[in-house]
């Protein structure tokens, strides 16, 4: 076994780190902090994203004939890690998850129009799956689309449509058939909805982690039929393909590695004449954090390697998603303990350590437990596909 990156990969990492440092100007940083939830959407964010596009940094892993760089999953992993470290809210899913799905399932017109724009950093796509009665049980969704001539007419409502307040498109899961033959997932379709369509609207949902996500509403929204992705009533295949790609981009230890190095620096500095790292319990916490992060880094690298080899199993991907969540949950808590009561200060408070980053991070982590497949379902997959246990009965 050999867990190290090659010299070229390390070089790529260094050049990305330099690139991102230059991209993150003080003006951009201040715009990001002032947009609620650091999710982007402002003019400088848009400008930086287009810059990355024209510098050829988007679609690192896309095949060359689609305009990408043809790099492997390990390079993509490095890319995501570095972009995350830099604190730029890069819309990964647009380029890493929906982009490839559009390439696979989209109509020729949509492919021709959108793929270059995605690579150019000109569009952001939001995901509209979840509804008030359909989250983990996505196949229960009710938003409907009816074919009328060359158009689909869409009616319904979604919740937690992240980025929906500034995205250019919604990657929308809808029901297109209602008979018994097309029950649940058999009657779903995937439609790409331009957000400038009449009848589309949104309202904010503010989250505990200072995030801004949305309710989105579809009131007789008319969309050209060519925006159907995949077959009518064939949406489930598109959704699972997209979600599988999403899972691969979700778990990256980049941000945890960054705060670890900052906490490490902090505990070695003198505060009030003493160093925190000279206290036994601080040493114990740091040792546990080191071990957990080392393990997660190895697991994520192995995952990237497994994708490159074509050997990654669904059970392993699920296992790593669970491991990532559990690791974040415990290491951020242990880091907060090390920083002490000041760690609970919110960003902007005088004396807040690490610019308040840990306070935001611990509030963000719970989402990893249920988003992109809730961990109970992930564990079912590990048990059934990894160990071969009998299927769990669902009512």
């Amino acid at each position: 076994m050999q867990a190290a990156f090659t010299a070229e990969q390390e070089e790529l990492r260094q050049s990305l780190r330099r690139y991102m440092a230059a991209l993150m100007t003080p003006e951009l940083k201040s715009e990001l902090i002032n947009t609620y939830g650091n999710e982007g959407g402002g003019p400088l964010f848009r400008q930086a994203l287009r810059q990355m596009g024209s510098d050829g940094l988007i679609g690192l892993g896309w095949p060359v004939d689609l305009g990408g760089k043809g790099h492997g999953p390990i390079e993509q992993y490095i890319f995501i890690e570095e972009v995350t470290r830099a604190g730029f809210p890069f819309p990964y899913l647009t380029s890493e998850s929906m982009g490839p799905a559009i390439a696979e399932f989209g109509s020729p017109e949509v492919r021709k129009d959108l793929l270059p724009k995605i690579l150019g950093g000109e569009v952001v796509i939001a995901i509209g799956y979840t509804e008030p009665g359909a989250g983990t049980d996505l196949a229960a969704l009710k938003t409907r689309a009816e074919r009328q001539g060359d158009e689909y007419v869409i009616n319904g409502a979604k919740v937690f449509t992240s980025l929906g307040h500034f995205a250019d498109y919604i990657w929308l899961a809808v029901r297109t058939a209602h008979d018994a033959q097309h029950a649940r997932h058999k009657g779903l379709s995937l439609i790409l909805v331009p957000t400038n369509s009449p009848g589309f609207s949104h309202a904010p949902i503010y989250t505990v982690a200072d995030g801004h996500t949305n309710q989105t509403f579809y009131d007789n929204v008319r969309v050209p039929a060519r925006n159907l992705i995949g077959q009518e009533n064939g949406g489930w295949a598109v959704i699972t393909s997209q979600l599988n790609r999403e899972r691969l981009t979700l778990m990256n230890p980049g941000i945890a590695n960054l705060v670890y190095s900052q906490v490490l620096e902090y505990v070695h500095e003198r505060h009030g004449g003493t160093r925190l790292i000279d206290q036994p319990w601080v040493q114990m916490n740091m040792a546990r954090i080191y071990t957990a992060l080392k393990t997660l880094n190895l697991a994520c690298r192995k995952q990237a390697w497994g994708i490159a080899q074509g050997t990654l199993t669904a059970a392993e991907a699920s296992a790593i998603k669970i491991l990532g969540y559990e690791t974040f949950l415990s290491v951020f808590r242990q880091m907060l303990e090390v920083l002490g009561p000041d760690a609970t200060l919110r960003r902007g408070s005088p004396g807040v350590p690490l610019e308040g980053m840990l306070d935001v991070l611990y509030r963000t982590v719970p989402v990893y437990g249920f988003a992109g497949g809730t961990n109970e379902v992930m564990r079912d997959m590990v048990a059934q596909m990894g160990l071969g246990l009998p299927r769990v009965k669902r009512a």
């Binding site: 867990a3 490490l264 040493q283 114990m284 040792a287 296992a319 564990r379 590990v382 048990a383 009998p390």
Partner: protein, 356 residues
């Protein structure tokens, strides 16, 4: 980056596993345990014949010439089969002699039919002292000390530690047989100005200690893997309330967690094996791996014993051997909490020790 096994590594694993499994049937292990010395001399002779007892020794010294990474893969198989052999201790002791350059002793023990015992412990008063080339003191729980040909032991002189080779057959060495929780033979050695030859300084002792720890992690990885296999088979067949036990979500979720634990331990264990194959010192990751090995062993065995219900406690069913093996390894050389404290010390001394 390569997280797979090479073809030769896979073949080595298969060879070692099949030999270890053939000999380590429950009936045979029971007999050995009842004999008072849980060492399978027939298996040991077969392993020696196949070159597995000298795996880390260079061919020019009569060994097989494979690296530490390969040795640890074989230790995983020892864990999977809970085989009654002192392979870890003996093989690492030989590698230490090779490292120290004491070739005469190395050749002698490579050729011998018996085994070497070794201990790196210096804790809780288990400290030997050296004066005028003679070693004095007591050290307890030395694995496979009974009937060993010689011992590798740390001793202190003028405040600094060195590693010594102590021949077993001498008046001034008293051995009291001890029995490990896994029923393996251990020994308390009391030395009274015993003859000993110095192999190296504290650096060599640390070299030995890190490899003993990494080897333990590999064994634990095998123990845990086999335990999960056994338990998966059980809950897939066993019926309660008219359904397979494994179809209860509470049970399958717990088993999924054992699977994740096992995956991480195998990764960490193989990672430190690869580091130690390439460099002398990997103290931070070695300690991290032992911390994990102790925690994972504890958690996985608790879960697997639990979902077995009563039969997991029945000594005619194989699970108990894995439970005691995991605990033996958990406490061997250094425990999870002690490793945590030691790793904390390393971090305190190394401000630039980033996670990866």
């Amino acid at each position: 980056m390569d997280f797979g096994l090479q073809e030769t590594e896979r073949e080595l694993c298969e060879l070692a596993e099949s030999m270890l499994r053939d000999f380590s049937t429950p009936e045979r292990l029971l007999k050995l345990e009842e004999s008072g010395l849980r060492v399978d001399r027939e298996l040991w002779a077969a392993l020696k014949e196949a070159g597995i007892t000298t795996i880390g020794v260079e061919p020019e010294h009569g060994g097989t010439g494979l690296g530490f990474g390969e040795a640890c893969l074989v230790f995983e198989q020892v864990g999977k089969t809970v085989a009654a052999v002192p392979l870890l201790i003996h093989d690492i002791a030989l590698q230490t002699l090779q490292r120290a350059g004491t070739l005469e002793a190395l050749h002698r023990f490579v050729a011998a039919d018996g085994w070497l015992a070794a201990s790196a412990r210096t804790d809780r008063g288990n400290s030997l002292c050296e004066a005028n080339g003679r070693v004095t003191g007591t050290v307890s729980a030395v694995p496979y000390a009974p009937e060993a040909e010689a011992y590798l032991l740390p001793a202190r002189a003028d405040g600094s530690w060195s590693l010594y080779l102590v021949p077993a057959e001498q008046q001034s060495v008293r051995l009291e047989g001890q029995l490990g929780t896994d029923k393996s033979p251990m020994g308390r050695l009391t030395l009274d100005r015993a003859q000993a030859s110095r192999l190296g300084d504290a650096t060599l002792l640390e070299w030995l200690r890190q490899r003993l720890i990494a080897g333990c992690c590999a064994i634990q990885s095998g123990v845990v893997e086999e335990t999960i296999k056994l338990t998966t088979a059980f809950v897939s067949e066993h019926e309660v309330f008219g359904v397979k036990e494994g179809s209860f979500q509470a049970v399958s979720q717990r088993m999924a967690d054992t699977c994740i634990d096992s995956m991480t331990l195998q990764l960490m264990s193989r990672h430190v094996a690869s580091l130690l194959a390439a460099q002398d010192d990997a103290v931070a990751d070695v300690l991290a791996a032992k911390l994990l090995a102790g925690d994972v062993g504890h958690r996985v065995l608790a879960s697997c014993q639990h979902v077995h219900g009563g039969i997991g406690h029945d000594r005619s069913y194989p699970l108990w051997r894995y439970a005691v093996a995991a605990k033996q390894i958990e406490l061997a050389v250094t425990s999870s909490s002690e490793a945590t404290a030691a790793l904390g010390n390393v971090i305190a001394a190394q401000p630039d020790l980033v996670a990866l």
